[in-house]
């Protein structure tokens, strides 16, 4: 059983009410939430210090315009926050940020993380092209209420088994909550969270976070994941399949730009170091008599897999931005699973646990010695 805070308004309104309370009481300097852009056809993360500006915020809107992990890393890369900031973000974004902090790319100090049991998000293409997400919202929340997988959400989200936040101070219950429109249950996971809500109007109670509905939903997601694996059929690919799949790549490197884990300021694959020199073209042509230019498409993707797989949180942003529809995150899903299992590692679960690639055991992995 965990402590919960109950409010008598819809989930989204309650979260806004909570943020307004925190702002008005001066307990936080500001809030980072999704906010509608003018004309309501898109959302973007915004820093808000004026409680009135929260009117156009939509904290739980099922879209991920950018991964909040990258946003938070940019905010805290130079120095940690001077004053508390409340952030409403998705479980994968929070895990991504914790992972970044472990890589020395930010600081967790002074954050109040408010996350929710995540029903998944819609592909970005949907909101940008026809602004249709607004119409989809009723059916989205209806599906969440019934603990079903909402139709049309991204394949990565459908197959995500970690939709219950890890490491959040507060968790907004959504999955399988029948009264989403009229009441809201917020789990207070830390003492910090208790301190922040002190004095707010609402009811304290005790409830279980991992309800029956959530357990069942996990099974559904798992089934979806296996379905996705079958669809992608990575084991059938082999070399030809891989080249065929990544052959479509136009080399925009968008997947690395949006990836919360791909944080290097100067990417190996964009550095002069790997820029082919005329003599190298000559050498390759002498050997093969035909080469793709610019070269290294497969090299880039495999290199990124090797660099990112261990910390990949499966947010799906890479697939979302790919202009030629390469299912990058689905490939990552399978590959990262094998690497993360190797070290029994869950990225973003424990801020104290070092990333496996930065540490070692003296006796391990003998099966990889030849």
């Amino acid at each position: 059983m965990s402590k919960v805070f109950k409010l008598d308004e819809s989930v989204e309104k309650s979260v806004k009410k909570l943020l307004t309370f925190l702002l008005n009481k001066g307990r936080i300097r500001g809030a980072l939430v999704l906010q509608k852009t003018d004309g309501n056809s898109a959302v973007a993360y915004s820093l808000i210090t004026d409680a009135d500006a929260l009117a156009s915020a939509c904290p739980l809107c099922p879209l991920m315009p950018s991964n909040a992990a990258s946003v938070l890393s940019r905010l805290t890369l130079q120095e940690s926050l001077p004053e508390p900031l409340a952030v409403v973000l998705r479980p994968c974004e929070l895990r991504g940020f914790i992972e970044l902090v472990k890589h020395g790319q930010g600081s967790l100090d002074k954050f109040l993380f408010i996350s929710s049991v995540c029903g998944g998000v819609y592909p970005l293409k949907m909101v940008q092209v026809d602004g249709s997400v607004g119409e989809k919202l009723p059916q989205y929340w209806d599906a969440v209420k019934r603990a079903e997988i909402a139709p049309e959400i991204r394949p990565t989200c459908r197959a995500c088994e970690r939709f219950v936040p890890l490491g959040a101070d507060m968790t907004v219950a959504t999955m399988g909550e029948s009264g989403l429109e009229t009441k809201c249950t917020i789990f207070l996971n830390t003492d910090k969270a208790m301190g922040f809500i002190e004095g707010m109007e609402g009811k304290l109670a005790e409830e279980k976070l991992e309800t029956e509905a959530i357990q069942q939903h996990k099974q559904k997601r798992k089934a979806e994941k296996n379905k996705l694996y079958d669809e992608i059929g990575l084991e059938k690919y082999g070399l030809s399949g891989m080249i065929d799949m990544f052959g479509k790549c136009i080399g925009c490197h968008g997947c690395s730009q949006v990836c919360p884990i791909c944080y290097c300021e100067v990417c190996t694959f964009e550095s002069r170091d790997l820029e082919p020199k005329p003599a190298e073209f000559e050498r390759d042509l002498n050997k093969k008599r035909a080469i793709r230019v610019p070269p290294d498409t497969l090299f880039y993707h495999l290199g990124r897999l090797i660099h990112v797989a261990i910390s990949c949180v499966g947010c799906g942003s890479c697939t979302d931005v790919c202009p030629v529809d390469i299912p990058v995150s689905s490939i990552f899903l399978k590959v990262r699973e094998s690497v993360q299992e190797l070290f029994d590692y869950v990225p973003g679960m424990d801020p104290e646990e070092a990333v496996p690639i930065t540490k070692f055991e003296t006796e391990e992995l003998v099966e990889f010695e030849d």
Partner: protein, 140 residues
């Protein structure tokens, strides 16, 4: 028909690996000529990208040799290398891109024999496997 001669990139650490190679030469031990030695400061400093690049740009196989556990000149580099190689190999395995083309074997400074044996053994191993399909592709 001319027998297939694999091209092998052999990464040796500056300390034990290279030492093993030197011991081999002092004892006039021979290793296959198609083995290209590349010295790295420590196997722990070898990036996964180097392994991958070798395989894409023309090598049939890659061997990495550093100090035995506990003997690393920098104390922990070989352990770190082992983790890195494990990541590369398990990814190559998941994608079926030939993890067996990457070997990781400790060679101590005095182990000239072990060094030439590793080179010869890997050479035979690759001859059986045949050319690395990755390096033959024109469309990567």
């Amino acid at each position: 028909m001319k027998e297939f001669e694999p091209k092998i990139v052999y990464f040796l650490c500056d300390w034990c690996g290279t030492g093993g190679c030197e011991t081999a030469s002092a004892h006039h031990l021979y290793y296959p000529e198609n083995v290209l030695i590349s010295r790295v400061h420590c196997t722990g400093s070898l990036s996964a990208v180097h392994i991958l690049r070798s395989l894409i740009e023309g090598a049939d196989g890659v061997v990495i040799s550093g100090c035995h556990p506990g003997d690393c000149h920098f104390e922990t580099g070989n352990y770190r290398a082992r983790r890195r190689v494990a990541v590369v190999k398990s990814i190559l395995e998941t994608l079926e891109l030939g993890p067996e083309r990457v070997w990781f074997r400790y060679v101590a400074h005095g182990e000239g024999r072990r060094f030439v044996d590793t080179a010869a053994e890997f050479n035979d191993h690759l001859k059986k496997l045949g050319p690395n399909p990755l390096k033959l592709r024109r469309d990567t």
